[in-house]
Point group: D2
Chain length 290, copies 4
């Protein structure tokens, strides 16, 4: 019985890079957080501390900054692809690269003045293998949505610990984490990622607002399905939807009714609904979700 | 030498209340976090645990919900005033109330569907005394602003620990916490707080974007001054401006120049500039800033 | 091309339960955070909002509390196993349960008085399937360790973006997230989890302190290997070790040397080393790491 | 009506410094977070961006590191005093310095190996004026305490919004933020701050555990009083005690009683009790609490 090394990766996390592009008076801003994870011939470093195969995480950080200068930061998927291909292509000991990028939005307030948008963060995770396998997952997190009606929850299973009354009109609120996998025929990794993001985001928003909901699971499926039906470049959607409970406050002790008007927004515990919606003929995901 | 009780207060913090108002199909949403702090005849409870003077914090929470139902939540300053007057007016042992409200913004996505705005949070703190003294401070926090040029920093004092080179073109970024005190002639606490907030916020944004800055202190003063000059209902502005440093990355080792294009957005340490701008004849602040 | 439902689960996250056991004057305290995730016959709820198969997350929360009363909370692995078996065993539509528990430590300060330990959190994740497959992963997170010497980093790969100088004496610091999978012969899920945890934790601490480190990967492997060599009940260890960089401050401009005495503790970016160490004949992990 | 500059200060916040002292094989560690705030002749920089009076915050950071080397970091109060005197003494435009230090504890695990203690953080805030006025406030935060019995709450005031039943046996839990002001006869700022801290902390812990509590206010007063009675070098104590509510779970629907055994640890809202306990002849606090 021997002790062996299993799956492993290493890299530089959370390199915060802000790229300014000057177009005369008018500046443009890209504000990103980049995480690199590399794997490959790493037996020796784990076993004996021999670093010959290890490109320092410091060099990875430097590469992020140098690439931001040389190539600019276009869509985050493109920037991640550039970086992933670079690490695998230039270091023989690196067989696989995972690059994750988050982008923070800014609103223009003047030719070179900006206010951070707050709200959701755009995300992507790219994998690239020396065998050429490439996956691109785009997404967003922290998109907080709420419907103040049009949501019910009843007809559920009951056991001896069930006390929840059925609800025929409730608030439905969630903080969306959504990730969607791009259909990527070999050699066709390039596409209009900006437009794809805008449209996928719109699908999520529209499906949440437009679904008369009998359960958060139903809403989740509707959100994923909407993306898949409208965006042929996307083959799989994964959603994590915490149920941000809004409990109706009992005002009866004060002689007041509460006809779905006053809610307590609770923190913990919360329901958590996680699900995948995909095309039945979606290509295998490979490392896409790792 | 005796041990005595000094300044003290107690209350319920962070009561999260969401108020829905139905206008037929169209719903309106107010999402707030309310903190109540009361003080008064509290010697006995501290000395002997005699709670006769203590209105439970649980009752304070209930009051927030009941008032949200009975009065709705209009502008947060008005809601805070209602609550503060109620506690002082109804409990003889309560001599002073401080009510703080934060409001989270939502954007409409449908007749009863919303997406949380993210970004800054609107705030207020109201004090009300049984002698009738009332103060109202409005404000915001977490408004993140950045100018990608139009900022210098040089000509500063130097000592033996100074290594900072002068900067003639730098990124200036901050996360604004601003609070402004309303001029409140007795009995005139009511005003258009919504419009006042919108305009004060605009002044802050415009002054930040429009000030060619030789130091963050100068920008701070300009922001406060702009509010005071344009808004006669406001007599004092307090600002906390962390200097969110954006350091130019040294790309020379890679044969690249960096003409103010690629920045590292640092977390810690950070400069912190705090200042007050006020009218020379501003009425005394009383408890306003406590 | 049809849209189908892929992997999914739902449940109640972060049920905070505190269990007091009274032994006369002396009280005992267990403070936990429980997350339940169930999966099974969930096609209908996603497709049509038919909740007949859905045991409400509210009932799951109630079950956590009722079980804390009925069975007490012994070792968190045992409590998680009880819950997981209950959900799968009592609801025909639930085919699989994942129960995660975090435990917060408290130090005794009196017969019924306690101070929270702070520092690391003990964790476990249990999976149970209606086919009888059961996995138990124990662990901890937020264990922050530092060696002020006995760490080097050199001999690494270099590319055009490498500027890092070799280090022959550096601070090595990390915040350990460790999880270890128990070898569980069918029907033998019960063991002394308390002692197993104490010993696994000791192995991690000892290996970190006792390894002269040429790279954080080497330290990671040594930590995992130590657990496996000393604890036959454990067959796989997964570690996530952020490299909490401590940079030597350049004091030369002030006429001072800095012989590894004064460090800047950086936040971001940071190296992140993730790895698995396991027995070559470890049983398949199944759902253990999901 | 002119616009004038009111109270202001500026400085470098959150300089993270780790100081290693080598005693042969055995190393010692001090891990601190230092915040500097300076004020003085700052009219010009606010009005016109003239930085002649402004010692850069970068120089302040450098000073922290250089002083850590030159003087070591003894007790944090001493380190803060050194820094505060330095800034006021060396820069004619700086009339007042406030230095705040937090210290993170580490437990020894080997001659040069450490594990971070977690739990509470030791704090201090020092003010020094060019007139010689000096104040020292020591303290701690995030000390989480819980009594599982020995706490009641009843006999409180009631109004129309009061529904809380009286409690004769409840859990009392809080996260202590405590700050205490030292009695500092001129020129006698030096004392055994380590021992003073240990003893003050012990007083807080003992008083919390040892007070049969009829209200959190009573416990607060007892904690402050204990410090004052046992520590003649301390003249004022300020405490912020959030009431971390532990609500008894209603298990009756499941046919179970709950005799103070199973609690839900709630997050928000929470009671917040703030109070000051001081000697009636305490010297004026000056800027101590700013």
């Amino acid at each position: 019985m021997a002790v062996v090394l299993g799956p492993n990766r290493y890299g530089k996390a959370e390199t915060r890079v802000v790229r300014v592009t000057r177009d005369g008076e008018v500046h443009h801003l890209k504000d990103c957080n980049v995480g690199v994870s590399l794997s490959g011939a790493m037996e020796e470093v784990h076993r004996r501390g021999d670093n010959a195969a290890v490109l320092p995480t410091d060099s990875q950080k430097n590469t992020v900054y140098a690439f931001a200068k040389k190539h600019g930061i276009g869509e985050i998927e493109e920037f991640a692809l550039l970086l992933a291909r670079h690490f695998v292509g230039s270091q023989p000991t690196i067989h696989h690269a995972r690059v994750a990028v988050e982008e923070y939005g800014w609103e223009r307030r003047g030719p070179h003045s900006f206010a951070r948008s707050g709200g959701e963060v755009r995300t992507c995770v790219v994998h690239h293998d020396r065998d050429g396998a490439t996956t691109v997952v785009s997404g967003l997190r922290d998109l907080v949505l709420l419907n103040s009606t049009g949501s019910e929850f009843h007809g559920f299973a009951k056991d001896e610990y069930t006390t929840l009354p059925p609800a025929t009109d409730r608030v439905l609120a969630t903080a969306v984490t959504a990730r969607w996998r791009h259909l990527l025929p070999a050699g066709e990794e390039s596409r209009d990622y900006a437009e794809s993001y805008r449209q996928a985001r719109r699908c999520l928003l529209d499906a949440f607002a437009g679904t008369y909901s009998l359960s958060l699971q139903q809403t989740l499926f509707a959100m994923g399905e909407r993306v898949l039906r409208e965006r042929p470049e996307i083959c799989e959607v994964r959603l994590e939807l915490p149920n941000k409970h809004h409990f109706l406050v009992d005002l009866a002790p004060f002689g007041l009714d509460n006809d779905n008007e006053v809610y307590f927004a609770a923190d913990r515990p919360y329901g958590l609904i996680e699900g995948t919606v995909l095309h039945d003929d979606a290509t295998p995901a490979g490392a896409a979700w790792d």
